[in-house]
């Protein structure tokens, strides 16, 4: 396998240039997929025979919950890369992805509560899945707070990386909570090994939404990372040149 791309990631300048080329494509894909997915899910997908139309919340709830967990795994991977290879970009990615992850967890919990009211008759239950997701939200808050509280950038990076790696134990707990314990929460809709229990008219829009949310994550993360790189590398000559170009570009 060719690993040059990995070594190139050590250079913020290279990342800044390549991400600038990806950004318009990712943003465009995110807008199109999210629009198509929500219109399809809201207006065209058939209603659920038991839950009626409240099930349409799934098209927001499942993608945000998937993102909440995959962003956390990403933080842990970035933490390992940062600790082992001392890559500066890993800490930028970790710090900038954490707020997006917190927002996604918040949205998953909120849409879950709003869905729970008509379906279970309660906004919130201290169910294994729900409690584990709440812990995930607090883990995100912990990482964000830790990153802001330590002024020394290297120490902050190390502390956040360790917290991200330790906290990743919560991810399998969330994943398997619906199987290990008796919960109100329904089991997973998608499985890698089996066909979905839903008809395609229902799960296709969900798939579109999940891919759309990943593109959204990519676009927002790149925007945040690019800004952070400009701030952190402000003393280097290429950032100075880039800033000059940007500033003079619009008088």
């Amino acid at each position: 396998m060719n690993w040059t791309w990995f070594h190139k990631l050590g250079s913020p300048k290279w990342f800044y240039e390549i991400s600038g080329r990806w950004l318009p494509w990712l943003s465009g894909a995110a807008v199109v997929l999210l629009l198509v997915g929500s219109v399809w899910g809201l207006a065209f997908a058939p209603q659920d025979y038991q839950q009626g139309n409240s099930f349409r919340i799934i098209y927001l709830h499942v993608p945000t919950a998937i993102l909440a967990q995959s962003i956390y795994v990403m933080l842990a991977v970035a933490g390992v890369v940062g600790l082992v290879w001392k890559m500066k970009l890993a800490d930028v990615a970790l710090q900038q992805a954490a707020p997006i992850g917190a927002w996604m967890t918040f949205l998953a919990l909120l849409t879950g509560a709003v869905w729970g009211k008509p379906t279970w008759g309660a906004w919130w239950v201290w169910d294994a899945r729900l409690t584990a997701m709440l812990i995930l939200l607090f883990l995100y808050f912990g990482i964000i707070a830790l990153g802001n509280a330590i002024t020394n950038r290297d120490s902050a990076a190390k502390a956040c990386a360790v917290l991200a790696i330790v906290g990743v134990v919560n991810i399998p707990i969330i994943k398997y909570s619906v199987e290990w314990w008796n919960t109100l929460h329904q089991p997973a809709t998608f499985r890698l090994t089996e066909k979905p229990a839903m008809p395609p008219e229902m799960w296709l829009p969900l798939l579109v939404m999940v891919i759309g949310f990943y593109c959204f994550l990519g676009a927002v993360l790149l925007m945040r990372m690019r800004l952070e790189i400009l701030k952190r590398e402000a003393r280097t000559s290429w950032v100075r040149a880039e800033l000059r170009a940007q500033v003079e570009g619009r008088p």
Binding site: T111, L227, V247
Partner: protein, 58 residues
Amino acid sequence: MSFASFSEFLAMGNHGVYVWTSYGAGLVVLLLNVALPLLGRRRYLQDEARRLRREEMK
């Protein structure tokens, strides 16, 4: 189309409040996530432009 009319679409079979609350909150959160880095970048570039002008005057 699984709805006969637009008002039925809005009503979502008695679940309108729940469905539209979720999607409204979702839209707000997504827009916020896009707006924050965009505004941050604009503010940063404005600060840098001011700093560059100051340096040139010296």
